[in-house]
C-alpha cells in the first residue's frame, strides 16, 4: 500500500496529539477524582476529630478508655450530626472494640476486634496526628488515635462512610469527558490534516517533478530542468550530464540490446519502456 509523505506525517502527528490529549485527560480526571475524595474525606475528618476530642477530654483526666461509661451516647451524638456516616467504632490500642454504631462498623475480623486492615493502617498512620484511611470496596474508613494524659495512644476511633455516591458522581463525568475528548481529537485531526497537506504540497510537487525528469533520463532523454527544479536540486544537472554521457559512451561501444528481466524489474512503475 502506498503511504504518501502526507499520510505518514499526519498519522505520526496524531500519535503525538493523542498522547497529549489522552494523558492530560487522564491526569485531569485522576486529579479531580482525588480532589473530590479528599474534600469528602476532610468533611468526615471533622466529625472524626470531634469525637476523638470528646473522648480525649475524658481520657486526659486520667480515666482509662475502657472505664468510660457514656461511649455509646457519644457515638450516637456524632452519627446524628452527619447522615452520610455509616459507622463509628471506638477501640483500644490493641484493636478491641469498646463501642460501635451503624452498619459500617465491623467489616470482617474476629468479633470484638477491628479488622486486620484497619489495625495495619492504624499502626502505620493513626497513632500520629495523621488520619489513616482504608478503602474497602465502596466504603472508606478513617482512623485516628486518642491520646492519654501522658501523650501515649490510649485507643482510636474509626469512622466509615460510603464512597458509592461520590464515585457515582465522579464516574458520571466520564461520558461527558469522552465526548469532549473525542471532539477535541477529531478537531485536532482535521486541522493537522489540512496543515500538513498545505505544508507538504509544494515539496511533494517538486519531488514528483524530479522523479519525472529522472525517469526521462533513464530513457535516454535529457531532463526538463525548470528554474524551480534547478534551485531545488542543484546537483541534478551534473548527474544528468554524467548519465547521458555514459549512455552515449555505452551506445557507441555496444549496440542497443532489448531490456533484460533485471532492467525491466528495476524500471519504476508507470514508466513506459
Amino acid at each position: 500500500m502506498r503511504l504518501t509523505l502526507t499520510t505518514k506525517i499526519i498519522l505520526l502527528l496524531q500519535v503525538a496529539l493523542c498522547f497529549a490529549l489522552l494523558s492530560t485527560a487522564a491526569l485531569s480526571y485522576l486529579k479531580m477524582e482525588r480532589m473530590v475524595e479528599d474534600t469528602v474525606a476532610s468533611r468526615f475528618t471533622v466529625a472524626l476529630r470531634g469525637l476523638a476530642g470528646e473522648v480525649e477530654g475524658a481520657v486526659s483526666l486520667g480515666v482509662s478508655i475502657t472505664a468510660l461509661r457514656n461511649l455509646d451516647a457519644l457515638i450516637q451524638r456524632a452519627m446524628v450530626r452527619d447522615d452520610r456516616i455509616t459507622g463509628l467504632v471506638l477501640f483500644t490500642d490493641t484493636g478491641e472494640v469498646l463501642a460501635a454504631a451503624g452498619r459500617g462498623a465491623g467489616h470482617g475480623g474476629p468479633v470484638g476486634a477491628i479488622p486486620a486492615g484497619w489495625k495495619a493502617a492504624f499502626a502505620r498512620d493513626g497513632k500520629s496526628d495523621r488520619v489513616a484511611a482504608v478503602a474497602d470496596g465502596d466504603s472508606q474508613a478513617l482512623l485516628l488515635g486518642i491520646r492519654n494524659a501522658f501523650g501515649g495512644v490510649a485507643g482510636g476511633v474509626a469512622l466509615t462512610y460510603s464512597l458509592g455516591e461520590v464515585q457515582a458522581g465522579i464516574r458520571g463525568t466520564i461520558p461527558d469527558l469522552l465526548l469532549s475528548g473525542g471532539i477535541n481529537l477529531l478537531t485536532g485531526l482535521l486541522i493537522t490534516m489540512v496543515a500538513v497537506w498545505l505544508l507538504l504540497r509544494p515539496i511533494q510537487r517538486r519531488l514528483r517533478e524530479m522523479t519525472v525528469s529522472i525517469n526521462m533520463l533513464g530513457m535516454g532523454e535529457p531532463p526538463k530542468l525548470t528554474p524551480e527544479l534547478a534551485a531545488f536540486a542543484p546537483g541534478l544537472k551534473d548527474f544528468a550530464d554524467r548519465i547521458l554521457e555514459q549512455q552515449q559512451h555505452g551506445a557507441e561501444e555496444d549496440p542497443p540490446q532489448p531490456a533484460g528481466p533485471a532492467a525491466e524489474a528495476a524500471r519504476p512503475a508507470g514508466v513506459a519502456p
Binding site: F19, S28, M35, V36, A266, V271
Partner: protein, 659 residues
Amino acid sequence: MKLSFIRRLNWMLTGVVSVLMLVSLAVQTNHVNTLFRPLIEPELARKAEVVGSYVVAQIDRAVALGFELDKLVGVDELLSDALAANPDVKYLALEIDGRLHAFSGTEEARAGSRLTVADTPPEGESPQFLDTVLPLEGNEAARLHVGVDSGYVRSAMNEVVFDLGSVLIVAILLNIEILLLVVGSSVAAPLRRVTAVMKQAADGHLGVRVALRNRDEVGELSRAVDWALDSVQHKADMTASEQAMTKIGMMQRVVELRFAIFVFSLAEELTRTFLSVYIKQLFEPVPGLSMEMVIGAPIALFMLLWAVSQPIAGSVSERRGRRAVFLGGALLSFVGLVGSGLATDLIQLIVARCLTAVGYASVFIAAQGFVIDATDPKQRAQAIAMYAGGILSAGVCGPAIGGVIAGQVGFRTTFLISAGLALLAAFMAWQVLPRVRAAQAKSSRGLRLADAVLCLRNPRFVGLAVFSAVPAKLGLTALLFFLLPLALDDQGVSQSWIGRVLLLYWLLMIVVSPMAAKLSDRSGQRIGFLVAGGLVAAGAAWVLSMPGSLGTALAGVALLGVAHAMLGAPQLAMLADVCVKERAALGETTVIGMFRLIERLGSVIAPFLAGLFLAHYGYAGALKGIGAVLAACVAVQLLLSTLFRPRPPAADLPQRTPA
C-alpha cells in the same frame, strides 16, 4: 538537493501541533472545571456545616449550663482552634443581634463589627466567600457564620493546570522528537541519500544505488535514480561506491538513534526529582555517619561509577562493537531501575544504583562512539549536536513528567516505568545499530595516569578543569539533585512542583546556551564568561538559601540555569586554547576525555559535601556553604588564569638582522 526546507517544515509542523495542544488543553481544563465544580462545592458547603455544628454544640452546652451567650469568655479561642484544624475554612464568626461578638479568620471577611459577606459584590464579580449560617439553640438572635473561600475550587484547579502544563511541555518536546525521527527518517535522511548518490554518480562512482524501500514520493524518486543508474551500470568502481554507500546509510541511523537516546535518558531523568527523598525513606542509621551523609552515598556512588565506567566501556565498545555495549548497558540499567523500585533497604538501593550507573555510562559512550564512527569530520559536529539534543530534551521532559507521575502512582512505580523505558530504548537500538562495528582507522588509546599527570602540570588546565568545571558539576548535583528536592519536600511542596522547578533549569539551559556560546565566540571572552558564570552560580546558591519556599527556589534555579549555560561552550573552547602542548602530545580526544573525567569528580564529591553541610548547618546553611565553595573556586580560577596568563608574542622586540 537543498534540504533547508526540512528545518522550516519541522518548525512549522511543531508550531501547528503545539498551538493545537495548547488550545485543546485550555478547552479541556475549562470543561473539567465545569464538570467537577458541582461535585466539590456542595461538599465544601456540607463541611462548613459540620465544622459549624461542632462549634455550635460547644456553645450550646455552655448556654445550657446557665452561662449567658454574650458574656461567654474564650469564644475567639474556640473559633481559632476550629479554624486551625480546618485550613480550608476561612472564617468563623459568632453574630448576636446583627453585630459580631467573636471572630476568627481572614480580615477580608469583616468590616468592623459586621461581615463583608452581607455586602453585594461589584457587578460581574462573584462573592469572595461562601457563607453558611447555623442558628444557636434557644437564641434566635444568635448565629454562627462559617465561611469558605469561593475561589477554593478555582485555586485547586490551578494546581491541576500546572500539572497539565508540565504534561503539555513534555508532549510538545515528544512531538519535536517524533517529528525529527519521522521527517528525518522519511524525508531528510532519504533525500540526503539521494543527493549523495547523485553526487557520487556525477563524480564517476556509477555503482552507487539509493535502494530505498519507501513507498512514498521519496521512494519513487529513489527508484527513478536507481533505474537511471542501472541504464549505465559499471562494475569497475563498485568498491569505492560501496565505501561511499556505507557512510551515507549510517547518517540515517544517527537520526534514528537520537530517539533511542532520548527515551533512555528519559528513563533516568524521570527519577531525578524524587531520588533524594526516596533515599531518605529507606534511610537506616550507619554508625559514625550522619543521616545526610548516608543519603548522599547512593548519588555519589552513582556519579563515581558513571565517571569511571565511561573510559572502560569506551574501550570495550571499540573491541566488541557499539551495539553490544549499548544493548548490554540498557539491559543493566533496566535491571538497576527495577532493583531501585523494589529495594527495601539502602544497601539494595545502592547496588541497584551502581548497576544503573554502569549501564548509563555504557549506553552513552557506545552511542557517542557510534555517532563518531558513522560520520565524517564535516558532519560530526552536527551529528553530535543532534545526539546531545536528545539528551537535553529528556532533561527537560524527565523532571517535569517524573514529578507528576510520582505524585500520582508513587516512587516505586515510577522506577518501574523508567525500567520499561530503558528496555524500549534497548529494543530501538537493536533495530538501529549495525551488528558489526565500523572499520576503524585507529582505535583510541584510553586514558592513563601519565596523561592525567601531564595535564595537571598545566596550571591553566587546573584552573579550568578543577576550579571551573568541577564546581559546575558540584553545584548542579549538590543544589539541584540533592539539597533542593529534600528542602522543598521538607517544606511540604508537592512532587509535581519540585519537577517543575527542576524543569526551569533545563529550559534555561536550552535557551541561553546557544546565545552564550555565540556571545563568547564573538567577543573572544572565555575567562570573563567563566568568572561571571561561576559567580552567578554562587549567587544562585545564596538565593536558594533564602526563606520563601517556591518563589526563591524558582529564582535560584533560574540563576543556576543561566550560570551553567554561560559556562558550557566557553569551557570547551578555552580547553582548546590552554592545552595546546597536551593536545599535540596526547591527542584531542584524550585531553577532552581527561577533562570530562575530572569534571565528574564534582558530581561525586557533591553529595558528601552537601550532606556534611546539611548535617551541621541545616538546609539554609548547606546551600550557603555550597555557594561559598563555588565562590572560592571562582577566586582561585581567576588567580591562576591571571598568574599564568600566556605571554604575548615578542613582535615589538628589535629584530636581529642577518650579517
